[in-house]
Amino acid sequence: MPAKASRAAFGEALLELGARNDRIVTLDADLSKSTMTGAFAKAYPGRAFDVGIAESGMIGLAAGLALTGHIPFACSFACFIVGRFETIRVSIAYSNAPVTLVGTHVGVAIGEDGYSQMGLEDIACLRSLPNIPIIQPADEIETKQAVAYAVEHRSPLYLRLTRQNLEPVHEPTYHFQFGKADVLRAGSDVSLLATGGTVWNSLEAATKLAADGINAEVINVSTIKPLDEETLLLSAGKTGRVVTVEDHSIHGGLGGAVAEFLGEVMPTPVKRLGVNGFGESGDAKGLYAKHGLDPDGIARSVLKFLNR
């Protein structure tokens, strides 16, 4: 399978699911070309709504559609979705309106557009709200299954998607399970917990670390909330050292969730890799290198963390 952006896989999955389920509707705020709902809109024009650059209104509309039995996907860049936090908080979460909020263009990996377009705090914001699970798939096959899950999941949900292409990390036989992290590489010296765009990089880093005699376990945490505590405890109990890797602020994201949980249940040293501060314009590769999220950077941080 070639590399594919999770937003592209999302668009393909919606088109396919839309043929079987006429309750699915999409809402966009003038970014449908970027969120990849265009094919769905073309195939089912009466079920796709571009509401203009009015994200709060879009989220409220989605709530109303959900409360009358439709299955809405409300889509925009992740930063613009959580920018309407208060509408999400009351009209989606508190009302228990079964809307899937789709936030694309996450992280510094979007590159040249710079910080104002980067979803870097979305996980932190939505982790604080009751009643909204967070899913970030790592490749095409997982994305498509996560979208199918979102159609069936009759409560609020947040789907976090990348602009950039993602190398496949799963076999075609992979079966996505909501709430379940998957161990992609078993290891005994350190647990690398990654999500979305940093999963493949973490696998590459593990290969590099193996050359240094370090056997890293790599876990894809696609359901960030609720956290798969069982898998996390098993892994951290075995390795005694945890490193989280995410293209998101180091505050309140996957790293925050893991550190909070382990701190209460089984205190374990945790190193959080991610973005500390604002993002900036640049090429994606250069930005990943700068923030230490490329395979070399991850491997370097792990070595330092393990005092090697």
Binding site: V51, S56, L61, A63, L65, A66, H70, V90, S95, N96
Partner: protein, 298 residues
């Protein structure tokens, strides 16, 4: 509706004012001014307009009601109790620990509440979405949304005001939606005109593409007639600007920003209730007065 029983509706609204004052005195906090300004509108909606079944609150063909100005929910709670959604005794649990009668509407706590509101400016978008959803399903059910004038200062309201008349075209115009502005002219900090004026609101709405009806929001016949007109209007949703008086029915509350968000003390509630009842206390109201007088003595 043809020939509304105005005397019956007037009696319900009058009892509503009594129950609002009673509930708020028991709760010790809440919003009397706006609850008293909106009660006539809600009375006509609940008792001469909307289709619903209190025994089946999720009946799929029901009309939907969204109180975007969620802080005035005591008026809605009264109507719901009167309509049979829950026993009247529950009204006295308003704002108390464990009560489904939250200070602002909670959809998941109380069957019959269609959307959580109270964070101002959100209800209209949700109502537009509901209207669209019903239209897409070919339902004849209607959606009613009541806005506050203060909350109409919110940007999200104007996003929906822009989209409402055009959304769903050409097949699913949301002409099943009727928006009613409870235009009492007062918000928490003072007079709407002074803080962030909505005027000329009718011209603004018309320029956005809304058919607008300008009415007296305390005249039950006018309210009913406007709702008829809204129902007869095809191709676009309707906006009713209902001019009201904050604290209507109680002279010491009327038109006074002080009473936006302050509950009456039991003795104040008794004085207010006597005024609402015009000096003659009917049998049903006597225990309410007695109960409030006993509270005052404590």
């Amino acid at each position: 509706m043809a020939n509304p029983d105005l005397a019956k509706l007037e009696a319900i609204a009058r009892e509503g004012r009594v129950q609002i004052l009673r509930m708020l005195a028991h709760a010790g906090s809440g919003h009397p001014g706006g609850s008293l300004s909106v009660i006539d509108i809600l009375t006509v909606l609940y008792f001469n307009r909307m289709k619903y079944d209190p025994k089946q609150p999720t009946w799929e063909d029901r009309d939907r009601f969204v109180l975007s100005k969620g802080h005035c929910v005591p008026a809605q709670y009264y109507c719901m109790a009167k309509a049979g959604f829950f026993p009247e005794s529950l009204l006295l649990t308003l704002r108390k620990l464990g009560s489904p009668l939250q200070g602002h509407p909670d959809r998941t706590a109380l069957p019959g509440i269609e959307a959580a509101t109270g964070s101002l400016g959100q209800g209209l978008s949700v109502a537009v979405g509901m209207a669209l959803g019903l239209k897409m399903d070919g339902k004849s059910a209607r959606v009613y949304c009541v806005l506050g004038d203060g909350e109409t200062q919110e940007g999200q309201i104007w996003e929906s005001l822009m989209s409402g008349p055009k959304l769903g075209a050409p097949d699913h115009h949301v002409d099943n939606l009727c928006v009613i502005l409870d235009y009492n002219g007062i918000q928490l900090d003072g007079f709407v005109k002074k803080i962030l004026d909505l005027e000329p609101i009718v011209d603004k709405l018309k320029s956005f593409g809304w058919p607008v009806l300008d009415i007296d929001g305390h005249d039950l016949a006018q309210i009913d007639k406007a709702l008829d007109q809204a129902e007869a209007t095809k191709g676009r949703p309707t906006f009713i600007v209902a001019h009201t008086i904050k604290g209507k029915g109680v002279s010491f509350m009327a038109n006074d920003p002080e009473w936006h968000g302050k509950a009456p003390k039991p003795a104040e509630a008794v004085a207010a209730i006597r005024e609402v009842l015009d000096g003659t206390v009917p049998a049903w109201a006597q225990p309410i007065i007695a109960e409030l007088e006993a509270m005052e003595k404590k």
